[in-house]
Subunit: 82 residues, 2 copies
Amino acid sequence: MIAKIYITFKDGVLDPQGKAVHHALKDLGYNEVSGIQMGKYLELTMDGVSREEAEIRVTEMCEKLFANTVIESYRFTIEPEE
Amino acid sequence: MIAKIYITFKDGVLDPQGKAVHHALKDLGYNEVSGIQMGKYLELTMDGVSREEAEIRVTEMCEKLFANTVIESYRFTIEPEE
C-alpha cells in the first residue's frame, strides 16, 4: 500500500514560510495568487498490510510523529501499490 | 482556482530527512513501512485565471521558485475553488 500524507497548518496559525513565498511570488509578478498554504508531504510504502490496517497505522503515525496536532492538521490517502 | 503542488526528491537523490523519519518509525515499531519519501506541499489560491492559464503559471512558478529541478521533481493539480 502507498500512503500519501499531507500536513498543513490549521487555519489561523501563522505560516511565515508561506508568507515569504507569497511575497516572492508577488515580486516575480504572480499577482493572481491570493493565498498560500505550505506544508509537508510524505509518501510511505507499506508492506503486508490491508487498506484498513494501513489506515489505522497511518493515523497513529500522524498523531504520534508526523503532525503537531495543536497547530497542524493532516489528511491522507491509501492506494494500492502500482 | 486551487493549485495543489507536490515537490519530492528525484529517485536516487539522498533524502536525509526521509531516512531519519524512517528510522524513527522503525524505533516506534512500524516495521511495515519499507520506504519513505518526504517532500513539500503547497496549496495556492489563484484569482481570475482559467484552468489553462493556471496550469501555465503554476508550471512557471515551480520551475522558477518552488522546485530545484536538478534534484527535485514536481507535480500539481488544478481544481476549481469550492
